[in-house]
């Protein structure tokens, strides 16, 4: 019996491993290919590369276009993160604490930017902005990215609030804390991991975003993805690959930061090793 199962399990396990590895290669290959390309010493985006050099990174950091795009991306990303996190956190708190009907509907409505195709949102934003003159401005881009990012903050903060004990707010009130103090001293520290994750999502949403930038941003407001897109169409140089690698590194850093926050939060809420003495 046991030998039969072993022989059966052998090929099954082998197939599982192979499939997993193949899927991972499928997912990772396009990203991995960018790395050698970005270090190419040649003029063309071809593999194999004729040799390796830092020249395209030099090019990136000496190009006013790319530097402007980097600056724009960070300005828009950070501003979006701050505004979307404020709006999303307050909305989540209102939905969590409020006593009214139709909460699920409200969450669904506020999440529509996540579901509606981005190109639809982008076109709508373009027409709306043309009425008020917000096209071709960083402010416009920030507003549009905030619309796209709020749902992510709302949903992560709502998820964190599920573990929040409402009695803590009642306790804070009976101890004399007005609602805004209770928010900053009690609620915010306890939901901080969720808020931070939401803020990172918001930043990443803006940092990656191309479609809205295509509609709304003029050359002065080009972000990194928009500049890469322009580079692909105008002159196909390996600088794009260098920019891509830099974007990937940024994403990895964000991921690591998020993971650190999460594990710290878990460690803090768990009791320490030394047991409390009994009564």
């Amino acid at each position: 019996m046991s030998t039969a199962t072993a022989t059966e399990r052998g090929p099954a396990r082998w197939m599982l491993r192979t499939t997993t590895i193949l899927i991972l290669i499928f997912l990772m290959a396009p990203i991995i290919v960018v790395f050698p390309l970005s270090f190419s010493s040649g003029e063309l985006l071809t593999l194999p590369t004729p040799g390796y050099s830092w020249r395209w990174y030099d090019d990136f950091f000496n190009s006013s276009k790319w530097l402007l795009a980097t600056r724009n991306s960070f300005i828009v990303g950070i501003a979006t993160a701050i505004i979307a996190t404020s709006i999303g956190t307050l909305a989540a708190l209102g939905i969590f604490l409020g006593k009214f009907r139709g909460k699920a509907l409200l969450v669904a409505l506020m999440s529509t930017p996540m579901v509606v195709p981005v190109v639809v949102t982008a076109a709508a934003v373009y027409f709306a902005f043309s009425l008020v003159g917000l096209n071709n401005s960083l402010a416009g881009l920030i507003i549009a990215h905030t619309v796209l990012s709020v749902p992510y903050v709302l949903i992560t903060v709502l998820a964190t609030l599920q573990t929040f004990d409402r009695n803590l707010l009642k306790a804070a009130a009976t101890l004399g804390a007005p609602p805004h103090i209770a928010f900053f001293r009690i609620v915010l520290p306890l939901i901080a991991p969720g808020v931070a994750t939401g803020a990172l999502f918001a930043f990443a949403t803006s940092f990656d975003e191309l479609v809205v930038a295509l509609f709304v941003a003029g050359p002065e407001q080009f972000t990194l993805p928009r500049q890469m897109y322009a580079g692909l169409r105008e002159f196909l140089s390996p600088t794009i690959a260098a920019a891509a690698v830099l974007l990937i590194v940024c994403s990895l850093v964000l991921l690591a930061v998020n993971e650190t926050i999460r594990t710290r939060a878990v460690a803090r809420s768990a009791p320490r090793a030394d047991p409390a003495e009994p009564n």
Binding site: A171, T174, R272
Partner: protein, 363 residues
């Protein structure tokens, strides 16, 4: 001692506009007393507490604290402390920081806070645990911190919502006495909510028994136990034998009640009831005497169903009147041990220990 600190004047609460959870409540709290709101779940006791704390608004009626109307005053401006069943300690703050929080909110200066925190910790015998986080404490320790935190800014009124509900029996009894002693020492007014009648009897100056949103009786523990004014209170507080019957005649304090099978009992009339009204007789098991009593009234024969041995006393379950679970307590465990099922037992009781009460809700 007798001046009112809190008054409820015809306070009504309804969540859906039709069912009233609290019905036209009138209640006066005396300064410095320990008042318990006792009742089964859904009786309106917790809603009453929440209205006083400021977490629910009355649908109608007025609540005052020190003569000041509380309606529409937010909870954080009422100056009423509260202890919750799940402790509600702030998990991200240490014990000392939890205790400092209300002091900071009440504008105490930075220099005096550490001293006050230390004094409060000593008061609940946790002086050495100030640096711990709440999760590192046992349930009993957490509740002590919660009590200290509610008392530290010296509110004149503290509310406790089943604060010992999550603790095991032994610890609960110890904490009951600790809280009672703190109350005596500090002279603060306490409103305590529980569904545990022995807890209410142990701790309270007065108890308000809630049922269906109405206070059935408001009295001292001894009064509630000895002189309940209706059948619900009699059955909710302590053990109780209940016999249904009809009023036959009245003669001043005493009355005759016919219980179903034609047997008549002499009982003490607690409230005025018309002849032939349905009454409930209430007799405490420890007031039922076994064997030939000294007085002639209320002597009956009952059939023994079961002897329950409880160490210091025995319970006899008897078939009597319309019930098969008429309980009598006896300290004579040796005599009880010799009885067997089916024996005819003579039981008797003094008319003063047998109360003729109106049935529940008719009060």
């Amino acid at each position: 001692m007798t001046d009112a600190i809190v008054t409820f004047d015809k306070v009504t609460k309804s969540y859906d506009g039709t069912t009233q959870v609290v019905k036209s409540l009138d209640l006066e709290l005396r300064r410095g007393e320990f008042l318990t709101l006792l009742g089964p779940s859904g009786s309106g006791k917790t809603t009453t507490l929440m209205m006083l704390a400021g977490f629910e608004e009355p649908s109608s009626g007025v609540i005052t604290l020190d003569g000041r109307r509380l309606n529409n005053v937010p909870a954080h401006r009422r100056g009423i402390g509260m202890v919750f069943q799940n402790y509600a300690l702030f998990p991200h703050l240490t014990v000392a920081e939890n205790l400092a929080f209300p002091l900071q909110m009440h504008g105490k200066s930075k220099s005096e806070i550490p001293g006050l925190v230390k004094r409060a910790l000593d008061m609940v015998q946790l002086g050495h645990l100030g640096d711990r986080k709440p999760v590192q404490l046992s349930g009993g320790q957490q509740q002590r911190v919660a009590v200290a935190r509610a008392l530290i800014y010296e509110p004149q009124l503290v509310l406790m919502d089943e604060p010992l509900g999550a603790l095991d029996k032994q610890l609960r009894e110890q904490m009951q006495l600790e809280i009672k002693h703190l109350h005596e020492k500090l002279g603060v007014t306490v409103v305590y909510v529980t569904h545990d009648q022995s807890e209410a009897l142990t701790m309270s100056d007065r108890i308000a028994v809630f049922h269906h949103g109405v206070i059935q009786q408001l009295a001292t523990p001894a009064e509630l136990y000895e002189r309940p004014t209706n059948a619900f209170v009699a059955s909710f507080i302590g053990e109780n034998n209940r016999l249904d019957g009809r009023l036959v005649s009245r003669d001043g304090e005493l009355c005759r009640v016919r219980i179903s099978e034609g047997t008549e009992v002499v009982a003490k009339a607690v409230v005025d009831l018309p002849i032939d009204a349905a009454v409930v007789l209430s007799i405490r098991p420890e007031r039922v005497m076994i064997g030939d009593g000294e007085h002639g009234m209320n002597r009956y024969h009952a059939r023994l169903e079961e002897v329950i041995y409880l160490g210091d006393h025995c319970k006899l379950r008897l078939a009597f009147g319309n019930t098969e679970s008429f309980i009598a307590k006896t300290a004579d465990t040796q005599a009880a041990g010799k009885m067997t099922r089916g024996d005819s037992v003579t039981v008797s009781w003094h008319p003063a220990s047998c109360l003729a009460l109106p049935p529940a809700d008719a009060a």
